[in-house]
C-alpha cells in the first residue's frame, strides 16, 4: 500500500468530497515540508562539510478554493540547499503560483500561471515535480482543458518551463506549445455504449520555439531549427479486465547537446498488454525510443528543462540494495526494451496458500541499445546514424529479473522474500566510477513483520548483494565494482504515533579493504494525523537517490537530519 492515498467514506462518492470543501466563504488548505541537515567530515566515506555547515530546504503550498475558483502558490527556501540538491537553488521566494477556474458542468477548466501537465504516457510532454530530488519542470503560462461533450477531452498548453530558483522562479529559454485530444468512442457512438470493448484513441502535438542561429560541424555551417515539433498517435483498448495500449511518436530534427547536435528525426514505438488467465495476471510491455530527448532549451542536459519523460523499463525497487546501488535510468538517446510481469496468488484457505493466502510475482525487464548503422561522410556529420529496425541492438544496458513471494502466516506474523538477478551496464547508466562494464549482481532479501503486542510491531529486513568477479591483466581475480554488501534494517512501531528505525549498510566485500565500511543510520519519529516529524543521525553512502525512476547523485554525508511535514 505504499503507493496509495486511501479514502474511506460513508455512502458517498469522490465528487462529494471535493464538493464538501467548497463553501461560500472559501477554504484555505496547505502543507509544509522542512528538511534540515548538519554535516560532519568523514574522509573514509568522502563526506564533506559545506561552507554553511548545514543545509536547509523548506517549502509550503497554500491553496485557496471558493466554488469553481482556486488560486495557490508555493513558497520555497534553500538556505543553503541540502547536499545532493541542485546547488544553484538559492534563497527564499515564490516558486510556483497559479489561478484556476473550472466548471465541470460546462466542461471548461482554465489555469493561468504555473501548472503540471502530462500528455498520455509522457513521451511527448510531461511536466511534473519530484520535490525530494529538486526536480521540477512546471509550466508557466496558460492551460485550457475542454470537454465539449461527454467522451471528448481536449488539452491546450502554452508556456515556458521552470529551470531554476534564485529567490524566485527562473524559466528556461524556449516556449512550449501543446495540444492533446482524447476521444472515448464508446461515449460518442451510441451503438457502442454498452460494448465490452472500449476504444480510446488519442492524438498529441507539441512544439518548442527557441531562437536558433548557426553551428559549425566539421566543415559545414548548419542552421539550427527554431521550431521543433513532435506528435503522437495513440490508443487504449479495454476488453473486460484486459487492457492494451499503443503509441507511435515522431519528432522532427532537433540538434541538441544530448544527441551531439545531429539532425536525425526522433521516433518512438510503445505498446503493452495486461490481463489475466484465471488467477494468473500479466503485463507485457515493449518499447523502442530513438533520439527522443526533448527539452525547452536544446543546450541543456540531465535534469534541466525536459519537456518529455521516457520512463525506465525496470521495476521501481524499494529495498535499499536493489533500489540504490544499480538503479537503471532510460538511455535518453535511444534504447529498445521489454518488460514482462506475472502475478499469481495462492488463495486464502487453500492447501498451498495457507490461512491468509500467498502472493507471488515475477518481473523480467531488459533494455538493449538500438539496432543502428553509423553513417559516413556529410550524412554522418549531419544525421549521425540510421536505425535499421525497431528491434534490439548488440549492447545490453540492463537485465533485471526478480521473484517475490509474500505470505501472512498468522495474525501476528508475515514475511516476504525476494531474489533478484541483475546484469547492469555501468557504461550505459553511469552510476559508478569504480567499474566500467557489465556488473553481475545477485540480491537476496528477507523481510519479516511481527506484531509483538496490540498496536506494536517489529519489521526487519535482511538484504545481501553479491557481485561477480573480473580478472585483471595479471590474471588476478577481483570482485566487480564495490563488491558485496549487506543491509540490515530493524524498525519498531507503536501505532499510530511513534517509530524508530535503524539501518546498517555494510560494504563487507569491497576489494579495497579500507572501504569495508558500516554505514549506520538511525532515525526516530512521531506521526499524528497529517503531521510527521523525524530525526535521524548517521552515515549515508555516496550514491544514487531515486524517486519513481528519476535518479540524482547524492554525495556521502555524515550528520543529523530533521524532517517535518504537515498538511492542513
Amino acid at each position: 500500500m505504499k503507493h496509495f492515498i486511501t479514502i474511506f467514506s460513508l455512502g458517498m462518492l469522490l465528487n462529494g468530497i471535493v464538493d464538501a470543501q467548497e463553501t461560500n466563504t472559501g477554504v484555505v488548505s496547505g502543507n509544509i515540508s522542512v528538511l534540515f541537515q548538519t554535516y560532519q567530515e568523514d574522509s573514509l566515506i568522502g563526506a564533506v562539510v559545506p561552507p554553511s555547515k548545514s543545509g536547509f530546504n523548506a517549502y509550503s503550498n497554500i491553496i485557496y478554493n471558493q466554488g469553481n475558483f482556486t488560486a495557490g502558490f508555493r513558497y520555497e527556501s534553500y538556505l543553503n540547499s541540502v547536499l545532493g540538491f541542485p546547488g544553484r537553488f538559492k534563497g527564499s521566494g515564490i516558486g510556483y503560483r497559479y489561478a484556476r477556474w473550472s466548471d465541470p458542468e460546462i466542461g471548461v477548466d482554465v489555469t493561468v500561471g504555473n501548472f503540471y501537465e502530462t500528455f498520455g504516457g509522457g513521451v511527448l510532454l510531461r511536466s511534473y515535480e519530484e520535490r525530494n530530488l529538486g526536480l521540477d519542470n512546471a509550466m508557466d503560462g496558460v492551460r485550457l482543458l475542454l470537454s465539449p461533450i461527454d467522451g471528448i477531452d481536449v488539452k491546450m498548453v502554452y508556456g515556458k518551463q521552470r529551470l531554476d530558483f534564485d529567490s524566485r522562479l527562473i524559466n528556461s529559454d524556449g516556449i512550449v506549445r501543446g495540444l492533446d485530444v482524447e476521444i472515448s468512442l464508446n461515449d460518442i457512438i451510441p451503438a457502442l455504449k454498452d460494448s465490452k470493448l472500449r476504444v480510446i484513441p488519442a492524438y498529441s502535438f507539441v512544439s518548442r520555439f527557441q531562437e536558433g542561429g548557426n553551428i559549425v560541424k566539421d566543415t559545414l555551417i548548419l542552421e539550427l531549427p527554431e521550431n521543433v515539433a513532435g506528435w503522437e498517435y495513440g490508443a487504449t483498448i479495454h476488453y473486460g479486465m484486459w487492457k492494451g495500449g499503443i503509441g507511435i511518436t515522431k519528432k522532427i530534427n532537433d540538434p541538441s547537446a544530448d544527441n551531439g547536435y545531429i539532425y536525425k528525426e526522433g521516433e518512438a514505438l510503445m505498446y503493452y498488454l495486461t490481463g489475466n488467465i484465471k488467477d494468473l495476471t500479466f503485463l507485457f510491455q515493449r518499447s523502442t525510443t530513438d533520439n527522443m530527448s526533448f527539452r525547452s532549451d536544446r543546450d541543456l542536459l540531465l535534469f534541466d528543462a525536459p519537456i518529455n519523460n521516457i520512463p525506465a523499463i525496470t521495476k521501481p525497487h524499494t529495498y535499499n540494495l536493489a533500489a540504490t546501488l544499480y538503479p537503471y535510468a532510460t538511455v535518453i538517446n535511444g534504447e529498445s526494451s521489454f518488460r514482462g510481469e506475472l502475478y499469481y496468488n495462492l488463495k486464502r484457505g487453500s492447501k498451498l496458500g495457507g490461512k491468509y493466502g500467498t502472493k507471488m510475482n515475477l518481473v523480467f525487464a531488459t533494455s538493449y541499445s538500438l539496432d543502428t548503422t553509423n553513417l559516413s561522410g556529410i550524412d554522418g556529420v549531419v544525421n549521425g546514424y540510421q536505425r535499421n529496425s525497431w528491434g534490439f541492438g548488440d549492447s545490453l544496458n540492463v537485465q533485471d529479473i526478480s521473484f517475490e513471494i509474500e505470505r501472512k502466516f498468522s495474525k501476528t506474523f508475515k514475511a516476504k522474500a525476494m531474489y533478484m538477478n541483475l546484469i547492469f551496464n555501468t557504461l550505459a547508466t553511469p552510476v559508478t566510477t569504480d567499474y566500467k562494464g557489465l556488473v553481475n549482481a545477485n540480491i537476496y532479501v528477507l523481510e519479516t513483520q511481527i506484531r509483538t503486542k496490540k498496536r506494536q510491531s517489529l519489521r526487519t529486513e535482511f538484504q545481501l548483494l553479491t557481485t561477480g568477479k573480473w580478472r585483471d591483466v595479471e590474471g588476478q581475480l577481483f570482485k566487480q565494482d564495490k563488491g558485496d554488501w549487506a543491509t540490515v534494517v530493524a524498525e519498531y512501531t507503536w501505532s499510530p504515533h511513534w517509530f524508530v528505525n535503524i539501518t546498517d549498510q555494510y560494504n563487507f566485500g569491497n576489494p579495497n579493504i579500507e572501504k569495508r565500511v558500516h554505514y549506520l543510520y538511525g532515525s526516530a519519529g512521531y506521526v499524528n494525523g497529517s503531521h510527521r516529524l523525524s530525526i535521524g543521525y548517521g552515515k549515508r553512502r555516496e550514491g544514487i537517490f531515486c524517486v519513481g525512476g528519476v535518479c540524482r547523485a547524492v554525495p556521502a554525508s555524515n550528520g543529523l537530519e530533521v524532517t517535518f511535514t504537515s498538511s492542513f
Binding site: I5, L10, M12, G16, T281, Q285, P311, Y343, G548, S567
Partner: protein
C-alpha cells in the same frame, strides 16, 4: 484490506483508493489489483493532481469522511495496527 468485507457490513463504509503511480508504473496497477483481489474502487492519479489538491505529503495517506462529506479523521504513513484506530473512528460515526 483484509477487513473490508466485515467493516462494510458493520458500518456501510466505502473505500476508494487512489494510486499515485506515475507513467512508469501505472500499467502495473491493474495487474497488481487483479491479483490482490481488492474489491474496492481504485482510481489513478498519474500526474499527482489529486495528491496536490488533497495536500498529501507522504503516502499512504488515509482520509475518513462522514456521510455529509465532512473530513473527520486523517492519518499519514502507515504502520501495522493503524487500521485499529481507523476502525474505532468508523464505529464512532455509526453509533
Amino acid at each position: 484490506m483484509d477487513y473490508y468485507g466485515d467493516w462494510q457490513e458493520e458500518t456501510g463504509v466505502k473505500i476508494v483508493a487512489v494510486s499515485i503511480d506515475d507513467s512508469r508504473s501505472t500499467n502495473r496497477v491493474s495487474p497488481y489489483i487483479m491479483s490482490s483481489g481488492w474489491e474496492f474502487e481504485i482510481l489513478l492519479d498519474p500526474a499527482g493532481d489529486f495528491k496536490r489538491a488533497m495536500q498529501v505529503m507522504n503516502v499512504p495517506h488515509t482520509f475518513l469522511y462522514n456521510g455529509n462529506g465532512e473530513l473527520v479523521w486523517s492519518h499519514n504513513n502507515y504502520s501495522e495496527g493503524d487500521e485499529e484506530e481507523l476502525y474505532e473512528e468508523l464505529l464512532k460515526l455509526v453509533d
